[in-house]
Symmetry: C2
Subunit: 477 residues, 2 copies
């Protein structure tokens, strides 16, 4: 257990906060509910952003930037949207020393300002589709905040697309959901369940919200991304029509989809242990740290030089390597710090390694140690990093399997939820009333109606009414 | 002259706005003073950002993210800072449906919130230097706004560094100024003058502000970037001290430096002509556009296929190529559109080119046309792009030389400024009083006290008092 960090088994919530602060991913800001993303945390977010951005561009999207300030009246144009977001708005009432004629809100999401612009940009079917993404900060006034998981300001991307047909919009919604699945599983090494949100949980203004749900180390669920089919709701609210090939004026079809810095929290909680974070190599800001080991001055000179020589070989090969040549810390202290920060692979170079032209390595995830020759080190390190990436994903899949339960009745539902936690697959009668009653009694919510073929006749665990399929329940972040 | 675009010689200001809107770099937003950066403009900004970010990282900086919301009281802690920025603040008074206890301002710049955090992070000389940069949006309530050049919200980067000594801070300030010079000249192909701002023009809270000044096509100056030595002003305002190696508590030394989306406007005005933008190849979102030329259907099939084949060869080689295979526009219409958008090199492929296995090319800048074989096209295109990049820079250097004047007395000053414009090198007595009087009478400001060796005894053009060197005057954006 790392110094000053709670054990997961004793206080998971404090473990999370301790790790985020001590690993210097983030810090509290003087404004309640806001946070500072420190360089190590931002480095992780930059890697996430680059991997997502590449996928967005490969699927034909371009980036743009829309204003942060939105006329308050815009929020009222779509009935469900205003209901969902009004309680979370921050309002600018003064600018340049004067009271504004109309208050401006800070974007909690950008559908309204973007669809106001789309009205100007879309005339004909030839202007469609529009496939725009935006990287931006958003503000949602939250009562209970937690670093990365729920903050008043957060960073995210929000895709906003416009289409000529309902089919195209639905296809886009599903395509981007699959992009998120691929990102979460390939880059974050976090397996996810794809599903549809219930009417109660869907995005305010959407026809249908798809989501990916992941399981954290404390067996609670976390929504990692959402993709919304907005139908013609925003086109109608903002009067956005196009002339079809046959000359008709038609309302445009819309989607929006987003993931946020919340994913940093998901990554910490999906892989971390009592010693700190475990970064998946593909996203780790530092993939391997090289620590020279020495006692005497001449040993220091030689091992530090070799550490930098090896570091350069690795960096030249595109590996994110860091040499920790600080003289004021002992190796054991350095090991603990890099374990806390979750660097996937540690390399040690001592006087004996110099003689043997070898390095000693230690995996962060399973602590496996082995030596290998400096000759061929690029392949050896890349190989180890790939192994770690796969091992993290496999372990998370196994953890989820071990913590997924099919429950048949209400007593079993409560018993499993209380004593085991995790994902519960149970029959539900499809009513919002039942959904609310279950949450009230157990704090569990319907995370998703999964996109799989798991149909079977059954009865709702709560109401006993007939049901055609199981849905995914869990306590969630 | 492109359709719907004013001629530069008739109305430069309208030309600029026409070009920015018609080339789809940006659009007006419904909130006065705010703008939307459209995908083509954002693509340019992304390229600028990447080239700058690479230089920041090469000089040892890391990125982080600080909150957009700042307690209003923070702005008051540094006396000059509050005086400079108070008139431009946007204020959030309500959040989550309630009036806030203390109003929050939207960051106009982040010194205050960052130095409040640095107080927590800096204890010892071992914590220094801190070399952090942030990419963010900022809000400054502006009365007169122009697309990219002055908008209520803009995107920028702001570096904020902390050092143990005055010398280190000054060295950092100058280093980052040189990074901006290198970026402007190498990537934007815009030559700049390095200098120091006068007391009147310096950043609110700085000890010394360095700047780079460029000359636009209408012979007005534009400040393209600033780098501030903040001395200990913010350390004292936020009580940020460190323990030195000898155990003393010392105030920390600071710098900050930034460039913004204003550079997009600078690029447009530095290189554009009556037909539109001319993008420097190193930053162009599209470096070369390929237009198939055909009349009959079979010609269409063949030339479009060849255009895509050539496009793929270029893209695989890392060239940002785009194939314009739209069937509903004639080639001439396409040429005009891509000229407006400033694509540096156009390639045309017609039936005859297919026979000869060649392509026809046209440079955007000097309209030079030539054919070359498809075999070896990657080298040919790269070579042409490098030639264009250099030609744009050389042309801008020549334009600046042609529009730089040494003026000796007040009548000549007014005459040159009125009838020729451009950069005026003139003697100045060093007083704010004279500086203000000159601006009042002529609208010219001191752009910079240049960082060159141009010392000579003379007398101030306005007051006749003695002067040791000339300074740079111009009308400016």
């Amino acid at each position: 257990m790392a110094e000053g960090i709670a054990k997961q088994s004793e206080d998971y919530s404090r473990w999370y906060t301790d790790v985020v602060l001590k690993a210097e991913l983030a810090d509290y800001s003087p404004v309640k509910g806001s946070m500072v993303i420190r360089p190590y945390g931002y480095g992780l977010w930059e890697n996430m952003r680059d991997k997502l951005d590449q996928r967005f561009k490969e699927t034909g999207h371009v980036n743009a930037y829309f204003p942060m300030l939105i006329p308050e009246s815009f929020m009222h144009k779509e009935a469900e949207h205003v209901e969902g977001f009004s309680p979370e708005l921050a309002v600018v009432t003064h600018g340049g020393g004067k009271k504004l004629e109309e208050p401006l809100v800070l974007r909690p999401t950008s559908e309204t300002i973007i669809w106001d612009m789309y009205r100007k940009w879309i005339q004909s079917h030839r202007d469609l589709p529009i496939l725009i993404n935006q990287w931006a900060n958003v503000i949602r006034w939250e009562m209970r905040t937690r670093l990365f998981l729920r903050t008043t300001e957060f960073l995210w991307q929000e895709g906003h697309t416009a289409h000529a047909t309902a089919e195209e919009a639905e296809e886009e919604t599903r395509r981007m959901l699959d992009v998120y699945v691929d990102f979460a599983e390939t880059e974050m090494a976090v397996p996810v369940i794809k599903g549809i949100k219930t009417e109660r949980e869907k995005f305010a203004g959407a026809v249908r919200t798809y989501c990916i749900e992941s399981l954290m180390g404390d067996k609670k669920a976390l929504q990692a991304g959402t993709s919304h089919d907005l139908g013609q709701n925003f086109a109608k609210a903002f009067d956005v029509t196009y002339q079809s090939e046959t000359g008709q004026r038609e309302f445009v079809w819309a989607t929006s989809w987003g993931v946020s810095t919340r994913l940093v929290g998901a990554l910490v909680m999906a892989h971390g242990d009592d010693d700190g974070i475990i970064m998946p190599p593909r996203l780790a800001p530092i993939q391997t740290v090289i620590v020279p080991i020495y006692k005497k001055d001449d040993e220091r000179t030689a091992t530090v030089a070799e550490a930098h020589r090896v570091g350069k070989i690795l960096k030249d090969a595109g590996i994110r390597a860091h040499v920790d040549d600080r003289d004021n810390f002992k190796p054991g202290w350095k090991y603990a710090e890099w374990e806390l920060k979750g660097v996937p692979l540690r390399l040690e170079i001592g006087p004996k390694d110099l003689e043997k032209k070898s390095v000693f390595s230690a995996r962060r995830d399973i602590r496996e140690k082995m030596g290998f020759p400096v000759d061929g080190i690029v392949d050896a390190v890349n190989d180890r990093l790939e192994t770690i990436q796969k091992a993290l994903f496999d372990k998370a899949v196994q953890f989820r399997a071990d913590n997924t339960h099919r429950v048949e009745d209400w007593n079993q539902f409560k018993d499993v939820l209380e004593n085991k936690g995790g994902f519960l697959y149970a029959h539900w009668d499809g009513s919002t009333e039942t959904e609310e009653a279950i949450q009230e009694e157990t704090k569990a919510t319907i995370r998703a109606i999964p996109l799989d073929d798991d149909f079977e006749d059954g009865v709702c665990v709560f109401s006993g009414k007939p049901s055609k399929r199981r849905v995914l329940f869990a306590k969630a972040y």
